[in-house]
Symmetry: C2
Subunit: 534 residues, 2 copies
């Protein structure tokens, strides 16, 4: 007996069809560099995306060619998300937080052809151009700056094809649609290449009620950059479900975001914890200045929101939800939704579980591997987190297979150290390389950071290992106080002593004005280690 089902490939273009035919009336609000808002309907974005596809085709872009983008979050970037795959090409989202030379290395590695770049990012482009030459540069005019000589404007590029229909290039479901390079905390950045299949499946899966919960009644604000792991898949998933989008452009300071939130009333906002920390500070410093929609969900990724951050949000009527993922996982891996069993256990237990990485999405398998094989799901047994599934990368673009990255039986080694409990909640103890080995025992830097940040005087905290002759390594705690607040090393040590054994307590504290961050907003332990080598 054989299945009688049709053989129809999964396709990003099917999501595009929903944008163009089913949800044409939904709205995309973009904030420009001058802080004005520009509004488009889905139907308008779809029409412009088809013109982009036709323009790319006319410019000689062929199936599988890379079209790079160096853009903030705005409507043209959304057009690229759909227009580039319509033309059969592969969207390469360049990370504008990196140095020009590094971007050039990545563009060269991916063999990028056409580049679509914001006018406000032309200074960065000029740095890149010293090291890499794109075949063609198309400039998105958002501000008033004159377009650089030799570079045509995006509007001119799509103009001849406006108002015409475009027949999407035929493709296999395993054909690539987008490539994203990992931020590369160790070694060179590596390219993860998403397919039509993985992108469609991820959008469907992320939409589910216990995950991103995307409906046509939502207004979604991705603070997450559109160059970071496909903006967590939000552009695809939001469009699939007809949700309104608010794209914040280049202004990402807490005050700017609160202005935008007050005006556009999002129901869901997504970003890294550092963004939300700043938001809370600004809200507290200016009572009554802004209004955040009651019950707005704030989805936190990149690093877990601590219990104290979840609590701080909850006290302000915002539902803070943790999610875990990587560029390598499309990125949704787990999300900390509240099971009925957790609700029954009361408010404290809800806050505790919400600070976990969460429950695996339906699209991936997850296991915790110790030295003697798979660890039980008991909430205590620690091991390396490994994942497997159709939206997980099985390798990297033009990089030899690496047993440090993938196991022999085909699982991705995430480099995270984790536990899973009997209700299926995964909790990251640490990055493998951030664990502190002291006297033959392990200390979790993440646990200690969360404990430090639960003190009312502490704004941010990061813990790193420093080499020690006798104990191998010892923890060093870097602490940023809230404005106008400061406490002593002894007080901090006393605060930690409720959760940690005496030998685990840091011998040394450093008080900083800010913790250095990576290009994706995470604490940069690499930079801290450079600052405090011993």
């Amino acid at each position: 007996m054989k299945s009688t089902m049709m053989s129809v490939p999964l396709s990003v273009n099917a999501i595009f069809n929903r944008m163009s035919k089913i949800f044409g009336e939904a709205e995309v609000i973009s904030r420009l560099p001058d802080k004005s808002l520009r509004r488009h309907s889905y139907a308008q974005i779809a029409e412009r995306a088809m013109a982009l596809a036709a323009g790319l085709e006319a410019a000689g872009v062929r199936r599988g060619d890379r079209v790079a983008t160096l853009c903030w979050n705005h409507h043209v970037n959304l057009e690229c998300y759909f227009g580039i795959p319509l033309a059969g090409a592969v969207m390469h989202t360049l990370n504008l937080r990196l140095a020009g030379e590094e971007i050039a290395w990545i563009a060269a590695h991916a063999k990028d052809g056409v580049l679509i770049v914001d006018d406000v990012l032309l200074p960065l482009y000029r740095e890149i151009a010293k090291h890499y030459e794109f075949s063609r540069v198309i400039v998105v005019q958002l501000g008033d700056e004159k377009v650089a000589a030799g570079a045509g404007s995006y509007e001119d590029f799509i103009k001849p094809y406006r108002g015409k229909s475009f027949v999407p290039k035929p493709h296999d479901e395993n054909d690539p649609v987008a490539v994203c390079y990992t931020s590369g905390t160790t070694g060179r950045p590596k390219g993860v290449v998403y397919s039509h299949r993985s992108t469609f499946l991820h959008a469907l899966c992320a939409s589910a009620p216990d995950y991103f919960a995307l409906s046509c009644r939502d207004v979604v604000l991705p603070v997450t950059p559109m160059f970071h792991a496909n903006c967590w898949g939000v552009p695809y998933a939001a469009v699939m479900n007809g949700a309104h989008l608010v794209l914040p452009g280049p202004h990402l300071h807490a005050e700017d975001l609160l202005d935008l939130i007050t005006e556009t009333r999002p129901t869901l906002a997504l970003g890294v914890p550092t963004i939300w920390l700043a938001l809370i500070q600004a809200l507290d410093a200016n009572p009554g200045k802004w209004s955040v929609p009651k019950g707005m969900r704030s989805l936190v990724g990149g690093a877990a929101a601590s219990e104290s951050l979840v609590k701080a949000f909850s006290e302000r009527g915002i539902d803070c939800v943790n999610a875990w993922g990587m560029t390598e996982t499309s990125p949704l891996g787990t999300l900390s939704f509240v099971k009925p069993k957790v609700s029954e256990a009361g408010h404290d237990e809800i806050l505790r579980r919400k600070s976990f990485a969460g429950i695996p999405a339906p699209i991936l398998d997850l296991r915790v591997m110790g030295d003697e094989g798979e660890m039980p799901w008991d909430g205590r047994s620690v091991g390396e987190l490994q994942v497997r599934g159709p939206c997980i990368t099985g390798g990297y673009h033009d990089v030899e297979p690496d047993p440090d990255k993938h196991t022999a039986d085909g699982w991705l080694r995430t480099g995270d150290v984790a536990t899973v409990d009997s209700l299926g909640y995964m909790r990251i103890s640490d990055r493998k390389k951030d664990l502190i080995k002291s006297g033959g025992e392990w200390i979790s830097s993440v646990d200690m950071e969360n404990a430090l940040m639960s003190h009312p005087a502490v704004h941010e905290a990061a813990v790193i290992a420093i080499p020690h002759e006798r104990w191998t390594e010892r923890p060093l705690a870097c602490v940023v106080f809230k404005p106008g607040k400061a406490i002593s090393t002894d007080e901090l040590r006393a605060h930690l002593a409720t959760d940690f054994a005496k030998w685990q307590l840091p011998d040394r504290f450093e008080f900083l004005s800010a913790i250095p961050k990576t290009s994706t907003g995470k604490y940069s332990k690499l930079k801290l280690r450079e600052m405090f080598p011993h």
Copy 2:
């Protein structure tokens, strides 16, 4: 550039893993023939499903073999949904509403081997056994009846394998998991064979917030039989999301369902409109006797709930949602969720749109074909509804391709006549064969039935064509009054005259005590035509 994503097949077993590992604490409540409730955790069902798989393997069942079920909705049926695919076999859900001889024909056509049958259905089994011999019969003991000689009990069958793990048989994602025969209003029943791929995709898609909206906080009551189009995919989708299940067993009278609803507090119930009509009548006849959970969603399929039914539900605090689908479409095709644009237009517009078939699910493409090609989405242009996608059947088991069923370019011809409006709402005008052709013009039987049922005295109405020498066909209206109510033909005609032209009004009315139904609870126009041939 090639995608770097892992090649991992989509699989029903991945849903099973969620049942066994992630949502082990979720509950399945089954109502037995003696009306008592039996409770199992997901973990218990998963353990028993693995024992079933091991038992089937030991009994010689091999990859692709058909294992038939003839069961009401209960926990063992749910075990079959997962245990049979774990063993690499194909679940064939036999329709217990059919006559024994017809079931035997279907079982023979599918070449069923093992049969799993409820003890309370043994009389029907004996009718089938006169025409078809299964290789082995396993009896589910729900009541007290002694198991028939020669047939082992289900509990004995799984006993040797209880408490042991079972490694799922390896499979391709296009391998079959289940077969379901269409009810066959024309010609012989035809087998639709679902694959791992289509079943997983359908579960993911049906879960979305604007479709079944399934979360781990839901309690789902499928009144829909588990032998009907995979119970609309609910067993897979509910388990994927960890929702509690209430399986109503053989007692499906309105009073029985209301007892069950009052006790188990479902948040979502699914069934055909006739079930809900009876529910409303019983609620009205016995005020205060039952309590339906406030805001319970009632998902209606099989035929559309009329505006008056949607309204009646809404007045009782129940959110009635229409969905359209077929055995051929896995079955979710469209669902009538409320877009913001519709909400803005007010209460009447909400009720009107909710009575439509609804908006296409992300997993399928939909078009309306007229004589001159594809019709515009203007809410007026009528044509044949055609669908395409990875969860749509491209043929039937062991049946030659038929241009009446599939177009040359690979679309399923649904046999429904429909319009789609500019917001993407599809509305079925009629079954193609139920349209009434009078004097060269068409009359929609569905529109006339809805208009009749909007009269407060009318309980049910079905309209069929009878042959007419001069006008080709003329409408005949079959009407069932509510208890204690009756009105004249003239009054009915006057009621219709507000929506229909004079020439469209039925010349003839027949008053019945009930409209005959098909095995799936739809109006049987075939039987009505036999009753009123001219």
